[in-house]
């Protein structure tokens, strides 16, 4: 059998898309439900232990999904940038409970530490769930799964094109910034000087981008962008396996049970 490029392409695109990992190959919407249920459990249970523990669970899932090291970095950065501030501000500014460390007009109190840790951990659990999901699932797969349940392909276009435009426009803006610097526009100095530099850098970049939309509209129109009806796609998502539904059902039931239990207690 001659293995032509055409046949290779046909085999590649005829098969279900795989990222080579059972967790990442789960249906994106089922995975979203699972992660959301885990986050709900973390928020519903009072106290900070479960919420902090759930963070660790998310990191473990990240490693099982083969995206562990990158996700761990995001997770730690998030704690450092957001969680720590949430915790420290609450710990310092809550004015009840036993004073642990007096610091002039403010003080670290037992209630403050408890309250801060609980709040920071709960917010972080939700944040960690969101970042984990997007670390595991490629945006394209998520949009494809959404199109399957009836979301318009235009929504996919707008979202995916946004990511592309952010990268493109960011690169152009940096080039123009350097070019304007070379022409003598001051980008350092007093605040007023720097604010004034903003205009000659951004106005041309944004105007070019807007003018280009006209060409893009024509190009996409020529490719039947505005056609209604079913479309084919290069990527074929695997249909959900039975165990994916089981995992989802168990997690959602667990989340419901914890929410009801926490309300009764």
């Amino acid at each position: 059998m001659a293995d032509t490029a055409l046949e290779r392409a046909a085999r590649r695109y005829g098969a279900d898309a795989t990222l080579g990992n059972p967790i990442r190959d789960m249906n994106p919407l089922i995975l979203l439900g699972c992660v959301a249920a885990l986050a709900a459990i973390a928020v519903a249970v009072p106290g900070w232990v479960v919420a902090v523990g759930m963070g660790a669970v998310f990191v473990v899932i990240g490693f099982l999904g083969g995206r562990g090291s990158g996700y761990l970095m995001t997770f730690l950065k998030l704690w450092a940038a957001v969680g720590l501030i949430l915790f420290v501000l609450r710990a310092l500014l809550t004015r009840s409970g036993e004073v642990l460390v007096p610091l002039g007009p403010i003080a670290v109190t037992t209630d403050g530490v408890q309250d801060g840790l609980r709040f920071a951990a709960a917010v972080m659990a939700v944040c960690a769930a969101a970042t984990l999901f997007f670390a595991l699932v490629p945006m394209r797969h998520l949009m494809l799964a959404l199109e399957r349940i009836g979301v318009s392909p235009r929504v996919s276009y707008v979202l995916l094109a946004s990511f592309q435009s952010i990268a493109d426009l960011g690169a152009t803006a940096r080039v123009v910034l350097d070019a304007q610097k070379a022409r003598g526009i001051e980008t350092e100095g007093s605040l007023l000087v720097r604010v004034r530099a903003f205009f000659p850098v951004l106005a041309p970049v944004f105007l070019t981008a807007m003018s280009a939309t006209e060409e893009r509209a024509i190009a996409l129109d020529a490719r039947a962008f505005n056609r209604r009806g079913a479309r084919t796609s290069l990527v074929r998502l695997r249909s959900p396996r039975w165990w994916e539904w089981v995992v989802l059902a168990v997690l959602v039931l667990a989340a419901l049970a914890t929410a009801i239990g926490a309300n009764l207690a």
Binding site: T74, L78, A81, V82, I85, L86, L89, R90, L92, L93, P105, I106, F119, V123, V126, C127, A130, T131, F134, R154, Y157, V158, L159, A161, S162, F163, Q164, S165, I166, D168, L169, G170, A173, R174, L177, T187, L191, R194, V195, A197, F198, F199, V201, L202, A203, V205, F206, L207, A209, M210, S211, T213, E214, R216, A217, L220, D221, N226
Partner: protein, 212 residues
């Protein structure tokens, strides 16, 4: 909400170009914020795209740009999503002012900075209080923390810190929106939903030039 005629206009006709402007609006929001960081400006400048698309295409497209920008931002920084409603309000408000020709004249554009800053500052502070109990994240939180430490009530501290910061942010934002609108070529302008507002000769009010 939207009348059927406006909604169908949005989906068909001119709306085709609007769809392609939405991603550009999102990207403008992001790049504006990035350049503000590069130039070490103490302001966000991250709603230029929302207001620009709102002023050129109408409130609903502007609101979509706002929602998308915050949604994309919250992939890496989830607390941002709580503030999405502000960016949506900016888009709707920009559509309102755009329709009435506020972005045709620089001083009128400058005036719109007041309601934008009010929404951003006042409701931003309210969201911080409701969702995060008054102590959210970012540069503002440190100022709020300091004010509270000086004996100010947490809620008051939020308003005191956020409203002036938002005025500082929205003045350059609306000015750059005005500058960009000035520069949009006429042939592109004619294809935008609110383009007629900016193409009518001075002296005639846009409302009488074309009934919407």
């Amino acid at each position: 909400m939207a009348s059927p005629s406006r909604f169908s206009t949005f989906l068909h006709g001119y709306g085709r170009l609007t769809i392609f402007l939405l991603p550009i609006g999102v990207a403008i929001n992001f790049v504006g914020g990035q350049i503000a960081l590069l130039l070490k400006l103490p302001i966000y400048l991250d709603s230029i795209g929302t207001i620009l698309v709102g002023a050129l295409c109408g409130g609903i497209p502007g609101a979509i740009v706002g929602l998308l920008s915050n949604a994309i931002n919250s992939i890496t920084s989830p607390p941002t999503f709580a503030f999405a409603v502000l960016n949506i309000a900016f888009g709707l408000l920009a559509g309102f002012f755009g329709r009435r020709g506020f972005f045709r004249v620089w001083w009128k554009a400058l005036l719109t900075a007041i309601p934008f800053a009010f929404i951003g500052g006042f409701f931003g502070a309210l969201i911080t209080i409701w969702v995060f109990g008054g102590l959210a994240v970012g540069g503002g939180a440190i100022i709020v923390g300091m004010l509270t430490a000086l004996g100010m009530d947490v809620n008051t501290a939020n308003f005191v810190a956020q409203i002036p910061m938002d005025v500082l942010d929205k003045v350059p934002t609306v000015l750059i929106v005005y500058a960009i609108i000035k520069g949009v070529p006429k042939r592109l302008m004619t294809k935008l939903p609110l383009g007629h507002v900016y193409l009518t000769p001075a002296g005639r009010t846009p409302a009488t030039a074309k009934a919407v």
